[in-house]
Symmetry: C2
Subunit: 458 residues, 2 copies
């Protein structure tokens, strides 16, 4: 049997898998969130900080172990001091907007369990608010640790409001998408003022982390001209178009300090975007990508001066033998700020299976020290993910993340595998199903061949 339990005075959620005979229950990390959001203890934790600095980084540097850090320590099975220490050093982030009291705090850093992000969102032609909230719930049910709302189209504000209010996981956004909607899709009409207002709008709603493409600089753009696939990041293309049209430096870069001051007010975490990430195997680890990464390292220092938390986004498409270099350079140039990568896809030849091409790269890059993996669904490059695609993407990435936890020797990670393997060897089928990442499908596949209940115990 699998049921939800709450541990300690902060009521940290786990899934408890109870096993047959004298096998002890296994507690699994649980992202599924509460069924209702009536009780919001985090409201009080935040209220007590009024008047002082509010970012987890500022507090960690002061030596304070916040309730959020305590919660995370129980969740990860580590000492609270380790959590504080890693945040203070900038090696981990705890994305937690002061306007998101629904949050069950979590941490992103290489000393902790590898995390998975799922992207959802409406487009101009498909989806409505209710469908997106359902995708959020569905994604976290299967293990998404954070969710990015990449909505475009007419209902961005309302969609985001519904998502944040229903989310126990941190919500990320790419504010330039909404800013662009406000310019009717013309990137040349963007401005710092309009962008800033968009940030404030989203910050007030409680967005926990934001992708900011502040590293796409004018001098980097010509480095992309000989690429097979040019600039494939939407945010990167938007900012490059603006820079080239105005012959001016990226306004996100030139106004970065003001942006930091805003983020500090709400404790929004930077996810410094890789607008020049490679979109093909041919373009991996090229000069455009690396030039931007160096700039992200500079910006990390500035954010930290403002007590703002930072993570760094990474590629994209990278063949296996070039994956480690990505982590090594990111860790060195960005002063060990957590790395947050999209895949990477290890080959370009398998559209419709890019959850698999990229799970290979994701597992490897996480083993080398990436802290969070942005999922890729089977629809990547082909269309918008539906409910089944979201599940396929999350599951593939939970596999990659856990494989990396094992390879890193994360304390306690292997106990899950051992419990399942013991159940398998002893033909305790129900225990094996309940310990699975996806008990529903495991049971269904078994029953296709051997449906009798007796076949599950002998």
């Amino acid at each position: 049997m699998r049921r939800k339990v709450y541990v300690g005075s902060l009521r940290v959620p786990f899934a408890s898998v109870e096993l047959a005979e004298d096998n002890p229950p296994v507690l699994l990390y649980d992202t599924s969130g509460p069924s209702t959001f009536d009780s919001l203890p985090r409201r009080d934790w935040i209220a007590q900080r009024a008047g002082g600095p509010v970012t987890q980084l500022a507090l960690a540097r002061q030596g304070v172990i916040t309730k959020e850090m305590e919660f995370v320590a129980t969740r990860e099975g580590v000492e609270p001091e380790l959590v504080r220490h890693e945040i203070a050093a900038g090696r981990a982030v705890l994305p937690a907007n002061v306007n998101h009291p629904e949050l069950e705090p979590m941490i992103i850093g290489k000393a902790f369990l590898v995390k998975v992000n799922a992207n959802i969102g409406t487009s101009a032609v498909t989806s409505d608010v209710a469908t997106e909230v359902e995708k959020l719930t569905w994604a976290t049910r299967w293990g998404a640790d954070t969710v990015m709302d990449l909505s475009t189209g007419p209902h961005i504000h309302a969609t985001r409001e519904a998502i944040v209010r229903n989310s126990a996981v941190p919500i990320g956004t790419v504010p330039i998408y909404q800013a662009l909607e406000k310019c009717n899709g013309d990137p040349i009409k963007l401005s710092w003022e309009l962008y800033r207002d968009t940030i404030i709008e989203q910050a007030e709603q409680g967005v926990d982390y934001m992708t900011v493409h502040a590293g796409v600089l004018l001098p980097h753009i010509p480095l992309t001209t000989d690429r097979v696939t040019g600039i494939v990041s939407r945010g990167g293309s938007i900012m490059a178009a603006w820079c080239l049209a105005h012959h001016e430096e990226n306004f996100l870069y030139t106004n970065f300090a003001e942006l930091c001051a805003l983020f500090a007010k709400y404790d929004i975490t930077f996810s410094l975007g890789d607008g020049l990430r490679p979109g093909s195997i041919a373009d991996a680890n090229d000069e455009a990508q690396l030039a931007e990464l160096r700039t992200l390292g500079e910006l990390t220092k500035i954010a930290w001066e403002h007590d703002v938390q930072v993570m760094i986004e990474g590629p994209g498409h990278v063949p296996m033998h070039k994956i480690k270099e990505n982590v090594d350079l990111q860790q060195q140039w960005c002063h060990e700020a957590p790395f947050y990568t999209l895949g990477p896809l290890t080959t370009d030849i398998a559209p419709a299976y890019d959850h698999i091409t990229s799970a290979i790269g994701a597992a490897m890059i996480a083993m080398y020290g990436t802290a969070m993996l942005c999922y890729v669904t089977p629809k990547e490059h082909l269309g918008l993910p539906n409910r089944e695609d979201v599940k396929a993407g999350v599951i593939a990435y939970k596999i990659a993340a856990h494989a990396a936890d094992l390879a890193k020797g994360h304390p306690g990670a292997q106990a899950w595998d051992d419990a399942l393997s013991k159940a398998r060897f002893e033909f305790r089928w129900e225990d094996q199903f309940n310990l699975s990442l996806d008990p529903v499908t495991a049971r269904e596949y078994h029953d296709e061949t051997l449906p009798a209940p007796a076949a599950k115990t002998a």
Copy 2:
């Protein structure tokens, strides 16, 4: 457009993908086989060897470049001398029974493209001959380079006959399975004589390579007692049961020289089985596994003395950080004989998704030098694979194999990715679909969101 073409006087098959505008066509390796088996040129190649040694290894050592080697050289885009040289050194095998004239020769070795094997076969309760032949055709349509017929139950001989006669790819078997059927499933009744007769029966039918669990020695068996999952290989369990019941050394080991003489007569390739492979993360790289691997190294030398080709089977379940050691020890102890691994699965927690848990391990182990990957389907641990499972397994493993070809810098491998990425960047949707590993599904996913033909060119 994608169509079959034949190159050179030996008519080596390729899939030619013809592209829009002035983009040159891309030739892809093609395992799908001819639609009919009327013309069998290999009959003549074999006939000309009557009276002399017939194994590709013997001929390679004599400096002969056989027609099979020439065929393979064109298929791989390398010089025939490289093919001969790698076979002569034992670093590659060209499995080609003299009784399998339907074969389109292929090579397995780390200097060549990474290959994928698909397992099929009837069981006592499911499947019939026609269904298995259809699975063979289906598996090779999606890219299986070899197929193993693991049939059990009453129709083993007839099933195998139908499979070999319809197969352009090498067919492998595990003869101990049929030998056991002849003893009504009682391993204790097995004998060398009964096994030898089974080998001859299968050799006459044209089986190209056979898994032989000759490395499961009496002194190795106690090493498995403290494992989480004991002995999980079926062949390993059978031989261990026999050894323990008789208190005698494994008859496959004690009669190995005679087995070699038989294999030499037909040019059957050894696939030295890993009967003690780990069945869980906990048991990876343990002393039982490694003791058997050392024995397989001894046996390799003996086979080579008989001019018999050899590959070595490998695990199983291995966490990412222990994968490289498997290849390094296998290459060292088995004198660089080609490695042929099952996965490995990089975690135990995802039954129903073990094609993905293992594609991660497969890609990595191939990058480190494994020559052939045995696929794992979503039904692994849960039931027998159906048609869709076979396809899912083959596709996941073609991804792993190609990702490894890229990482190894295999000449020409990246041209495929580059052609597809260029098509993607230029919105040539039809070209992108046709270059995909699975054009059918890529097209279908695209059309779910954007079905209009115009959406495929702009």
